[in-house]
Amino acid sequence: MAAMSLLQRASVSALTVLSGRGAGSRLGAGSFLTRTFPKAVAPVRHSGNHGKRLFVIKPSSFYDSRFLRLLRFYILLTGIPVVIGITLVNIFIGEAELAEIPEGYIPEHWEYYKHPISRWIARTFFDCPEKNYEKTLAVLQIESEKADLRIKELEVRRLMRSRGDGPWFQYPTLEKEFIDYSPKATPDN
């Protein structure tokens, strides 16, 4: 850039020299000694490293940098307290050590976890796996009893319908004394 400005200045001065010579030859005794220079040439200080200050035209990076700034902000807003909390828990409370189960002692369900935060979560929010196991067993037993009873009911229905000696499938019918046989009592009706 500095070289270009130098070239520009050199070309400008060469042009003035040529035009001055031409004008001088036309006007009068024009020679190298009477050459004129243009008046407005800004002195450029050659600063070696940076060069000339330029206005670089590029697309806007405002939206991208805003997105990244907001992303970092919202991640760190809860990220930093969480990391500090976990660090303090690890330093001051510490993980549990493995031990044999003492005689006659039944540990609580959270005492099977190592990290203090896992223990807290298991203690506060989660049910013990024994409860889940027993619930599953209860559901299975109820469903199996239901299935057994349904099969038995079908069998009972079949037998009572076929044999007719049970309380089901008894339909009320007329008493035989109330039937009037008089319309068909004689063969001529």
């Binding site: 993980e95 050590e97 099977y112 067993l137 037993q141 057994d148």
Partner: protein, 176 residues
């Protein structure tokens, strides 16, 4: 910190560092580097670790491994007894996980042996290799190809098929 592995299972090869025999009278720069490491890295880290251990010693908690009681197997359950079958299935699943971990441990022993011996692994790792082939064959016979909906009943059926095949092979061997 003390070693957490069994020295008999994973033996370390004997170290071969030679006794120092300096050829020059100039001091060894390695000692200075080791001292610098000791001062700048080892000691601060040890101090921090000791501070943390002191804090941990104030409230010491313990955790245990789950102990499950043995319940009757799938072979000892009557046919409509869903509770017995459920407990047997859960026990079988836990035993399946244990068997997977056993295979992993035997594999790790073989890998450690190969890494330790290096070039002479084919010669010196015969015991670990034999152990691994036995364990892998047993695992394959029992658990392989049960499908995605594996269960203790299907494993039992596979065992029945295996025993029938053995009986047939024994009969043919006796006939031949």
């Amino acid at each position: 910190m003390p070693d957490s592995w069994d020295k008999d299972v994973y033996p370390e090869p004997p170290p071969r560092t030679p006794a120092p025999s300096p050829q020059t009278s100039l001091p060894n720069p390695l000692t200075y580097f080791m001292k610098a490491f000791d001062l700048l890295v080892d000691r601060p880290v040890t101090l921090v670790r000791e501070f943390i251990e002191q804090q941990h010693a104030k409230n010491r908690t313990y955790y245990y491994h789950r102990q499950y009681r043995r319940v009757p197997d799938i072979t000892e359950c009557k046919e409509g007894d869903v509770l017995c079958i459920f407990e047997a299935e859960m026990q079988w699943k836990r035993d399946y996980r244990v068997d997977q971990e056993i295979v992993n441990i035997i594999q790790e022993r073989l890998k450690a042996c190969q890494q330790r011996e290096g070039e002479s692994a084919k010669q010196n790792c015969a015991k670990e290799l034999d152990q691994f082939t036995q364990v892998a064959k047993a695992y394959h016979d029992r658990y392989y190809d049960l499908g995605a909906y594996y269960s203790a009943r299907k494993c039992l059926a596979k065992q029945k098929q295996r025993m029938l095949e053995e009986r047939r092979a024994a009969k043919q061997a006796a006939a031949a």
